[in-house]
């Protein structure tokens, strides 16, 4: 059975003279034992191997994204230009329509809007005449003197007569309210 230090020791007894003569030669070595042990100890104190992935992750990511950008740039520069194509489409002209006679709508005005015949001329009575005058010319056309005061049977009071008539009423203070 082999061991780490003696990988193969079973066939040494079966060696020929040539093999024994060659095997007696000692390989020259310039290996520095202490240096190897020092570097091995130095490596054992180094940070764990997991850091390498993080160190290489971002450069790899940046490189891959740069490749993507480069590829898209190439695709963009080589994209075929779409030419504008003008297509004329024959559209049938619509036939001229026959002139249509305008439809005249005759609508009878409502009775309420028709002028009243009695407004065309003043009526026979004074009330009719006054109403006709107001409708026709407005309130401004009314005479300043009331119609009742113009009755021929009564004379209008002067200012002095009116004052004398009303003095008793003016002098009476009246009851408290």
């Amino acid at each position: 059975m082999t061991t780490p230090l003696e990988p193969d020791s079973t066939s040494h007894g079966d060696r020929t003279d040539l093999e024994q003569a060659l095997g007696s030669l000692r390989p020259a070595s310039r290996i520095q034992r202490d240096r190897i042990l020092f570097r091995a100890g130095q490596q054992s104190a180094a940070p764990p191997q997991t850091g390498r992935f993080a160190v290489r992750l971002w450069p790899a990511l940046a490189a891959s994204l740069a490749l993507v950008v480069l590829g898209q740039g190439v695709l963009l520069s080589r994209r075929p230009v779409k030419e504008i194509e003008v297509v004329y489409v024959q559209v049938p002209q619509p036939q001229a329509l026959a002139p249509v006679a305008p439809e005249v709508l005759v609508q009878q005005a409502p009775a309420a809007t028709r002028p009243q015949p009695w407004l065309d001329a003043p009526g026979p009575t004074a009330s009719n005449r006054l109403s006709w005058q107001i409708i026709r010319y407005g309130l401004d056309a009314l005479p300043s003197t009331p119609v009742a005061a113009l009755a021929p049977t009564e004379k209008p009071l002067t200012a002095g007569q009116s004052l004398e008539t009303n003095i008793p009423n003016l002098m009476n203070p009246g009851d408290p309210s």
Binding site: E6, P7, D8, D17, L18, L22, P27, A40
Partner: protein, 158 residues
């Protein structure tokens, strides 16, 4: 990782791993050092640390060789690095220089199997898993490489 275990692994396998890495690149010690540092950061520890180390060194050496070729392409003078593969031995059965030259002349597929088995101590099954081949194929490569070495070094072997 236990420093004592790491120290013992270095003492036991570092020279063979360095020789193994030299089959591909000139910066073998750096590759081996990185492999041991990586092993120290493994949690949990591999079931077969030696096989794991040889695999890590093989991958690191191939990468280092590729980078070295790319770097030398722009250099006016490439440094002629002739590394010594084996330590000198006062009473050798095989001359180290001769062994290095003969070994270097072998195809890489045979060299890596011989180094991993003879000096690394890996089984043929472990080497087969290391290089991605079958155990029988690895054994054939090993035997073919030894036959070539025997032809080239036969006079030196007593």
């Amino acid at each position: 990782m236990d420093p004592d275990l790491l120290g013992r692994l270095i003492d036991r396998h570092a020279p063979a791993l360095e020789l193994f890495a030299r089959q591909w690149c000139d910066t073998a010690e750096d590759v081996v050092q990185e492999a041991f540092v990586k092993l120290a950061g493994q949690h949990p520890l591999p079931d077969q640390p030696a096989a794991w180390l040889f695999r890590a060194v093989r991958n690191g050496a191939i990468n280092a060789a590729t980078a070295s070729r790319r770097r030398r392409r722009y250099e006016t003078q490439a440094a002629a690095i002739v590394a010594v593969w084996f330590k000198p031995d006062p009473a050798p059965e095989i001359e180290p220089d001769q062994a290095q030259a003969a070994l270097a002349a072998l195809p890489l597929e045979q060299r890596e199997v011989i180094v991993a088995h003879l000096w690394g101590g890996l089984t043929f099954q472990q080497i087969a898993e290391l290089v991605g081949s079958s155990s029988s194929s690895i054994h054939r490569r090993y035997q073919a490489g030894l036959a070539t070495l025997r032809t080239q070094l036969g006079v030196q072997v007593s």
